[in-house]
Each structure stands twice: as structure tokens, then as C-alpha cells.
Symmetry: C2
Subunit: 276 residues, 2 copies
């Protein structure tokens, strides 16, 4: 296949590297700025630096940019995308962009499959990309009405690239789960490190601090966009968390040991039932 | 030295194993139940199963039990502790128990030094203990008026056992920092996994979920005691967190991208300034 990747950051770059490492496909990179493309060409992550014209020979197009930028890229270039091409996004939110991309695919004849690789780092850009970033990770596919054969093609590629699990979901189901599993931990980490005590933590901290604060090293432009494009599910999860924090707080405040132990035991059981 | 360890759980057991691995000291174990002592003797973590009479030959006594249990153990056996003995606790809170242990040391003539090894796991008991649990970790010492030579002796032992850093603090300073670095992450983890979405997370989660939820696998009896014995600093930190979560929530609710980016950028800068 000729695979065109638009956006050679950590995700697009990792797809490029994994495709070159694990398959024989030909990879063409497109990016707003030139440097990542030259770095990617130099290290063999891509075979060619492309332009919008490259889309005409694409069998697969992977969108590695921010969500709205991905939609805009496809809107601007839709007439160049062959009808035989599968377009796959990699965004962290789905309801906000999948219907737009599906509508474009119906209008121009190509196929669109939503994809969210559950992998990342608290770093960005091509320099942070890694051929094995997806190793063992979950790949969420949001078919959006695409034909079965195209979806299976993407699933097979994902397995070849090292993903450990393929999960299918609707856009709404994806966004509801992601609000909890990914967005809320980022909101927590950022809110946590805002305590006035945080800058003095060294010498007084260990694994608990490290783990809860890790993703506060955030790309604020990307995550502000992701949060606002998944507003209702995220607001729900933040409120649920505040309610649960308040329950613990009230038990501590009342000095009610039995109630506190009960609350904590419930949490332990959730983890135990998950085998974690 | 003859070192008596009271409470052969994960912390007491790890001290025993580390002392046998890295020093020539003689270790005597005391525990409420018999099994951990037999396991410890069998694997060479202790040299002898002791009784309260063993305290009479102790040069150092390490308290590995829950905080209140540690105080009660010393109260019950204070008259057996030699005046030359240093008693060291390992509790996660200090203001609640250090004054009591210091008063007992003054009454009976032994020396008390508060100690909090900043290491642990989301598992408990002797089976979870490890000779290298403290490797590179911070050891917080709360001297509580002990003479300099005794404090230095504990610090030197801690370095020999693999601790990477010795930090000195007052009981109040310790408790204020620990409320943020250790207790709040446990409150967060437990509150987080109480979302009704949590049991369905598999396939939709990655590192962010794993890290923030890890310590929800909690020992509720230990942590309920620790929370209640550090009530005011913990209540402060929970409230600060709720306020910061609410600020993010409001920015998302208003759809105010600029305000949201500013909030997230502030958090990123806290981490960057810490070099994390």
C-alpha cells in the first residue's frame, strides 16, 4: 500500500516508524512544518516527503494532526482522495469529528474509519515518536458505517503494528469511556499540581506523587481542544469525582472511621474485581 | 547492634531483609501473628523470633506496625526498653504519635527518633516485603528532640540500607507535605475508581488510567487511620483539589478555550520548573 500520513508528531511519527519496521508499505509524510519531515526521512520513518498531490496515490491516509485540523485537512483536499482510499483518523475524541469525516467520505466516495490508538507519552513531536509506542496497547476502532472489509483491513494493520487488542465502539461510547480513562486523569493531574505545596514536594514524595502528577506535563493546546470537544461526558466525570472526593472529605471531617473504611473498601473491591 | 523489629509486614519485613542484606546486625522479629515470623526466619530476614523480653537487649527498635498500635506497644513495654536503645517508628503520620513517643522516651530514658520511609507498594504483609524496597527512596527523619548522635546513627543506617536521600522535618512540616504527596493521591485514586464507568474501562484505557487508579488497591484500615490522624492538612488538600477541579470544570462548561489553556499551561509550568 501507499500510506500517506498527515501530521508527523508523536502519533503520526510512531505510525510511520511502526509501518516501516513491521510492514513493506510505502510511507509518504505530509506536515505543516518541514523539519519533522526531514528528520523522518533521514531516519527512514518515511520513504518520501509528500504534498497534497500525494493523496492521489494513497491507498490509506492516516490523520495524525489535532482533531479539527484533521477535519479541515480532509475538507481542503477531499477531491484529491481516491475513492479506493481508506482515511483513518487518530483523534482522542470521536463524536465531534467522525460525523463530519463520514459525511465527507460519503460525498467524495472514499472510506472513513475512526481510530484511537490508546498510547501516548507526556511528550510531543516527532522526536518522541517510537516504532513500538503501540506495543500491546489497545486500538479503538469506530467504524462509522464503513464497509466490513475496510474495517478489517485497518484492524489487521493495527495488529501487525503491535497493538495488543482491537476494540470496537460507537463514537458516543468511545467518548464516554475516554472522558473517564484519559481526559479525567489529565484534569486530575493538572488540578493536583496546582496545590501551593507542590513546588516543595521533593524529598517528601514517592510513587504516588509521581503517578498522579505525571500527565500534568501537558500539551495545553491539544488537551483544551480535546476537553471542549467532549464537553458533556467530561463535565459529568469531573462532577462524579468531586462528589466522591466530597464523600471522603465528609467522612474525614466527621472523624467517622467506619464510614471512611467502608468508602475505601468499596474502591479496593472495584480494583480487585477488575483483577488489578 | 541487636535490632528488634515489631511488626513484620511490608515495611518491617523490608527493614529486616535490607538489614540482613546490607549489614551484620542481628535482627529479632516480633509480630502479633506467628506466620510472618516463621516465614521471615525461614528466608533469613530475621535471626530470631523474639518476645517482649527481647527488648531488654535491643540497641535499636523499629516499629513497623500501624501508628496507634506502635504507640500502644511502646506504652505496654516501655519499662523493658534499655536507656541506651533508640526507638524508631516508620509511620506515615507524625504529629499524632511523635509527641506521645517522645514523652515515653523522656519518662523511661530511651531515645525516640521519628522516621518515615517514603516507599511502599499497593500490597501488604511480609510476602510483599523486599530487601530493596528503599533503594533510592527518601527517608524522612523527624528528630523530635533526640540527641544528634542518635539521629546521625539512624541516618547512617538508612544510607546503608539503600535510601537515596535523608530529609529532616518537624512533625507538622512532615504531615503537611505528606497530606499532599501521599494521602491526597490515595484519596484521588479511591474517588476516581468509584465512577460507574470504571468497571468497563478495559480496552479503553492506558497509562493514565493505570497510574491514577493504582493505589486504589488500598488497605482501608491503615489508610482510614492515617487520614484521621492527619485530619486538618488532608481536609485542606482535598478542598484545594476540589477548587482546582472546579476551575477546570467551569472553563470547560463556559467553552472558554483561552482560560482552559491558561489553567493547563500553569500546571505544565509547575512540572517544568520542578524539572519533571
Amino acid at each position: 500500500m501507499n500510506i500517506v500520513i498527515s501530521g508527523i508528531g508523536i502519533i503520526g511519527g510512531s505510525f510511520a516508524k511502526a509501518i516501516k519496521k513491521y510492514t513493506d508499505h510505502y510511507v509518504i509524510g505530509i506536515n505543516r512544518s518541514r523539519q519533522p519531515l526531514e528528520d523522518a526521512l533521514k531516519c527512514g520513518a518515511i520513504d518520501e516527503i509528500g504534498s497534497r498531490e500525494s493523496l492521489q496515490k494513497a491507498d490509506l491516509m492516516i490523520l495524525g494532526t489535532f482533531p479539527q485540523a484533521a477535519v479541515e485537512f480532509v475538507e481542503r483536499n477531499a477531491e484529491l482522495i481516491p475513492k479506493s482510499c481508506i482515511v483513518m483518523d487518530t483523534s482522542g475524541i470521536k463524536s465531534e469529528i467522525c460525523p463530519k469525516l463520514t459525511a465527507l467520505s460519503e460525498q467524495y466516495g472514499f472510506t472513513f474509519v475512526g481510530c484511537h490508538p490508546m498510547a501516548g507519552k507526556e511528550k510531543n513531536g516527532f522526536a518522541a515518536s517510537d516504532a513500538d509506542l503501540f506495543s500491546g496497547a489497545s486500538c479503538i476502532l469506530v467504524p462509522c458505517g464503513a464497509d466490513e472489509r475496510s474495517v478489517e483491513k485497518i484492524a489487521a494493520l493495527a495488529e501487525t503494528l503491535g497493538f495488543g487488542k482491537i476494540v470496537y465502539a460507537s463514537a458516543e461510547e468511545h467518548d464516554r469511556m475516554i472522558a473517564f480513562t484519559s481526559q479525567l486523569p489529565h484534569v486530575i493531574a493538572c488540578s493536583y499540581v496546582m496545590s501551593p505545596v507542590c513546588p516543595k514536594h521533593k524529598g517528601f514524595s514517592a510513587g504516588s506523587y509521581r503517578d498522579v502528577s505525571r500527565v500534568a506535563h501537558i500539551n495545553e493546546k491539544l488537551w483544551a481542544e480535546l476537553f471542549l470537544e467532549n464537553k458533556e461526558p467530561l463535565l459529568d466525570e469531573i462532577q462524579i469525582l468531586i462528589d466522591n472526593l466530597t464523600a471522603v472529605k465528609n467522612a474525614v471531617d466527621k472523624g467517622n472511621k467506619e464510614e471512611l473504611e467502608e468508602l475505601l473498601a468499596k474502591s479496593r473491591k472495584v480494583k480487585e474485581e477488575l483483577g488489578e
